[in-house]
Subunit: 409 residues, 2 copies
């Protein structure tokens, strides 16, 4: 018998279940394993013997994989378990690999972000040094697009599409009044500005769209910001601005309205960059201004996912299985872009040691000289990633996703 | 020559352009007018002679009306102009009706919410008392669903669908961790809780979905709220709560974290109900809690509009023209529900004097006894309104709406 376990970890995206579907599909098609298990709540399911049989799920429902591909968040649940080192707690590793032997596991697939790739690194190093015949493979996901050695990350394209579409709709919403106004949208991204950059895709030739974009990669200058807004207001009544939540000033301090904000219980409360800049514009320019957060839907709006992103995410799951069949271990699947027009990619895996615990920021050449918009190079990079709409089934007006009743026991 | 003018006013919805398309379509099909004009920025376009020729737009582009129907916000722009009374400023009325005579206008259609219906009321009363042969017709729109004499309002179904879908996706997002958490979503609605009630549509049979719902129609009790959350946490790890922005306590005071919040410039800042309850739960229960606002996309997410809503909104535009042809004036078009299964409606118009300046709240029977969820009666009312997905054309990954370059001159 040869079986495998798949687990998911970290924060949700709308593409992480497409990667899960890809691993399952390739495992079954290539007859790579007798049984494909899902570990509930990441590596915790392995430590707690909390598995579900995914091969059975596919046999029971011929539409299971298609529904899974468009289901947001994590079908198997997540965890925030930080793996201790093998030196520190060898018993955790012994427990995991004893469990693998009992269940006749020869492949372990971890779909996740940076922290999850660290788990892959630790487990594969242990397996190799202890002669364990288990391929430990990582499959990436993060809406932040900040993993190295891959052209982009699964989940990013869908989040970028949601953000671009939403900003386009907000541009329509904010453009209807003939009185000056400023709208500031705060986008996810503590360290990397990729998602905020995607708001540039919402711009039209005649002026509707996002006017100013600020990323964490460029030091934020409050006075220059006010000057930028004033400049746009000369030619346009309704100014639309996108900022990353993680923008910082020249002293590397986050932009936030931190001083003197306390709640009714006396707790000090930080408010975000958007609120801080809303107050700044109100104070300096005295015009109508509001700030909004494009919050959770960025990472879970499955009804508006990118077909390109979902297809690639599934392929990244498949390539991990193919490589594991070739006895590769300690690798993460990656996308390599081979052309922009038409957009083509190839799939491969790369050594996890070169990927884990590193961050890919937006290159300076993707940001304009003034630091308040992106360049054509960035747009060329982004455009193909949001292309295509997946087939989503609706029932009674709502999209139908895979049920999570196995997490509600 | 017989011409007409259409104008839009108030806050945006995703259905207000479908009503515009309905008025244009019926005007052309029924040969009701020689030329259909659009007044830019509501009644301001009439006062400033700022019209566009909509008949020409249709002749130039055979897809114009179809694109218009799925375009969010207001193709003609909005205004926040409060009509003075005819006694107070007769010259404004004289100017408007002189302009109507010059342009040979026999029909004026105002698509808007409560304030706009007041303008319809004033103009039609003036026309009748001064012997002006112009039909003044109102076409309703508001995501708040709070207009009387109509089963529901155009724009509400689409906003309800967006909210239900988004809450379903957020339920997936928040359910993945095996640690207790509370998520509070603040929904638009100062006085009426219709939109917040729509979050109930996101619930599943196995427990995923919205657990607690609080509307402005029931006095909010902070202690009971903490008790409700504590109760849900006994059977479920991740609690999802929907509240209207306008919830008030037994003294009719808004729930807000108002005390001691000032920005970095010393301005006192109100934070909303969601933030206030986030602090309350953190303080009383000490568990992971966050609050989010489902903000502007509620009223502009055209990519996820309700096909039922858009079709009805167009019909409401058409019935207004049909009735104006029968010399009706001072009326607003309304929807009457004739059955729930299958859902059927009829269209008519009603005297504007019975509609303007009134508010339709959620009936108590649509809210459960405990005041923390809605009843099956509410769900029966809501379900048909979100049904169906309109055909939205995508290009390069983004929905294609009618361009607004006429507002960018």
């Amino acid at each position: 018998m040869k079986n495998c376990i798949i687990a998911q970890s970290g924060g949700p995206t709308v593409a992480i279940n497409a990667s899960l579907a890809g691993v399952i599909e390739e495992s079954i098609t290539a007859k790579a394993y007798d049984t494909v298990y899902g570990s509930l709540h990441g590596i915790m399911g392995v430590l707690n013997n909390d598995l579900i049989n995914l091969t059975e799920k596919v046999e029971e429902d011929p539409h299971f994989l298609d529904t899974l591909k468009i289901t947001p968040a994590m079908y198997l649940g997540s965890c925030r378990f930080k793996m201790p080192s093998a030196e520190e707690k060898p018993q955790v590793y012994e427990q995991i690999f004893t469990f693998f032997e009992e269940k006749e596991i020869t492949g372990f697939y971890y779909i996740g972000g940076n922290d999850s790739m660290d788990t892959v690194l630790q487990l594969s190093a242990y397996a190799q040094s202890h002669g364990k015949k288990v391929s430990i493979m990582g499959v990436p996901k993060t809406i932040d697009n900040d993993l190295c050695h891959t052209d982009h990350t699964p989940g990013f394209g869908s989040a970028a599409k949601y953000i671009a579409c939403t900003m386009s709709e907000i541009a329509y919403d904010t453009s209807i009044y003939p009185v000056p106004s400023v709208t500031i949208a705060e986008i996810m991204g503590r360290d990397a500005g990729w998602l905020t950059a995607a708001t540039a895709l919402a711009s039209t030739s005649y002026g509707l769209g996002v006017d100013l974009i600020y990323l964490p990669e460029v030091a934020f200058d409050r006075n220059q910001f006010v000057a930028d807004v004033t400049s746009v207001l000369k030619s346009k009544k309704n100014v639309l601005i996108a900022i990353s939540e993680g923008i910082r000033d020249e002293n590397n301090e986050y932009i936030s309205a931190s001083t003197a904000t306390t709640d009714s219980f006396g707790h000090s409360q930080l408010s975000g960059a958007g609120k801080a800049l809303e107050y700044l514009i109100a104070d300096r320019l005295g015009i109508k201004v509001r700030s909004i957060e494009i919050n959770l839907p960025q990472r879970c709006a499955a009804h508006l996912s990118s077909a390109t992103d979902l297809a690639e995410s599934a392929e990244l799951g498949k390539i991990a299985v193919k490589k594991a069949m070739q006895c590769v271990t300690g690798h993460m699947s990656v996308i390599q872009r081979t052309a922009n027009t038409p957009y083509t990619v190839t799939y491969d895996t790369a050594n996890i040691a070169e990927i884990a615990n590193q961050v890919k920021n937006v290159p300076r050449s993707y940001i304009n000289q003034a630091g308040n918009y992106v360049t054509e190079e960035m747009l060329t990079y982004l455009r193909p990633l949001i292309a295509g709409e997946p087939k989503v089934e609706y029932k009674d007006g709502l999209p139908q996703f895979a049920p999570l009743n196995h997490l509600y026991k």
